[in-house]
């Protein structure tokens, strides 16, 4: 196994190094490496540096394939904040790391599963764009749901 190093560039132009044999867990990077050897810097325009650091941490620590399932669960459990997890899921989608994306999405779903309406709004920072009258009308119509 060659110890070639790849360089990834985040949205805010920070550079991260990672060994090629670890980076190819990402299908996107694997395809890039196959196509042109990926000698230059790989830009990731939608991933910010904090998230990319997390992804690199994930890729670096993942060594034994048989412990993957437990490891990825533990990895997302340690980062139990919804904004972080969503960013992580998006980065995993861009890099095509399916396990990480699935785990992050599942964790987010678990976190918001038992929330009430207001809690969901707070957790995802969703703004209510309805007027109180509109909302009341919907509430009255679908009372069973609340």
């Amino acid at each position: 196994m060659s110890k070639k190093t790849l360089t990834l560039m985040s949205k805010d132009k920070q550079l991260f190094n990672i060994e090629e044999h670890l980076a190819v867990q990402s299908v996107t990077i694997r395809n890039m490496v196959k196509e042109d050897g990926a000698s230059s810097v790989i830009p990731l325009p939608r991933v910010d540096s904090e998230t990319l650091a997390l992804v690199i941490e994930y890729l670096n620590r993942q060594q034994a394939p048989e412990e993957d399932e437990d490891y990825v669960k533990k990895f997302v459990d340690e980062r139990g904040e919804i904004p972080t997890l969503l960013e992580l899921a998006q980065a995993a989608l861009d890099l095509d790391i399916k396990k990480l994306m699935d785990a992050a999405c599942m964790k987010v779903a678990d976190l918001i599963k038992d929330f009430t309406l207001e809690e969901v709004r707070e957790a995802l920072r969703i703004e209510n764009d309805r007027t109180p009258e509109e909302e009341k009308a919907i509430r009255d119509e679908f009372q069973w749901a609340f």
Binding site: E81, I82, P83, T84, L86, A89, Q90, L93, M101, D102, C105, M106, V108, A109, D110, I112, K113, D114, F115, T116, L117, E119, V120, R121, E122, A123, L124, R125, I126, E127, N128, D129, R130, E135, I138, E141, F142, W144, A145
Partner: protein, 163 residues
């Protein structure tokens, strides 16, 4: 002549009796078969069944409303009622979910159950559009179908919606 007279009569009598018996037997069998289902429907229709029906209708009704004022939300006010962790991440934007690509939203929604989907669709109009996505409900349907009892509710519900 005699033979030709009695033979059809006998045969007709025999046929009608056997037909009647067969009919009764069939009705009895189908009643016995349907009985548990009927009991199940009536005993549970006030709980999950009703909720499902309304929920799906709710989603359908919502589509035309939800789209109109989507993208109008560009406010940068932070919701800061959620405690410490919300304040830590200082990102400006309408909401986390709207900044994401639709795949992520759909993927997250596919892990949710129907009360959460309903809650989400209430939060605002763009989330309503996302939560009304057919794929999420289809996945939910298939997930639920694995459990035979709930499959029945959902089947009833989809009939209610269709007809």
């Amino acid at each position: 002549m005699e033979i030709s007279f009695t033979f059809p009569g006998n045969e007709g009598e025999f046929t009608s009796v056997s037909l009647f018996l067969a009919l009764m037997f069939t009705i009895l069998c189908s009643l016995l078969f349907l009985l548990p289902f009927l009991i199940l429907i009536f005993s549970q229709s006030n709980k999950i069944g009703k909720a499902c029906c309304n929920c799906v209708c709710f989603s359908c009704n919502g589509i035309d409303r939800g789209c109109s004022d989507f993208m109008a939300v560009t406010g940068s006010r932070m919701m800061n009622g959620g405690g410490g962790e919300v304040v830590v991440v200082e990102r400006v934007g309408a909401s986390m979910m709207e900044q994401l690509v639709p795949e992520i939203t759909t993927h997250v929604l596919s892990y949710l159950d129907y009360p959460s989907l309903c809650s989400l669709s209430m939060t605002n109009s763009s989330m309503r559009r996302a939560a009304n996505d057919d794929n999420a409900w289809k996945l939910l349907y298939h997930k639920v179908t694995y459990c035979s009892f709930q499959a029945l509710y959902v089947t009833c519900c989809s009939y209610d919606v269709l007809y």
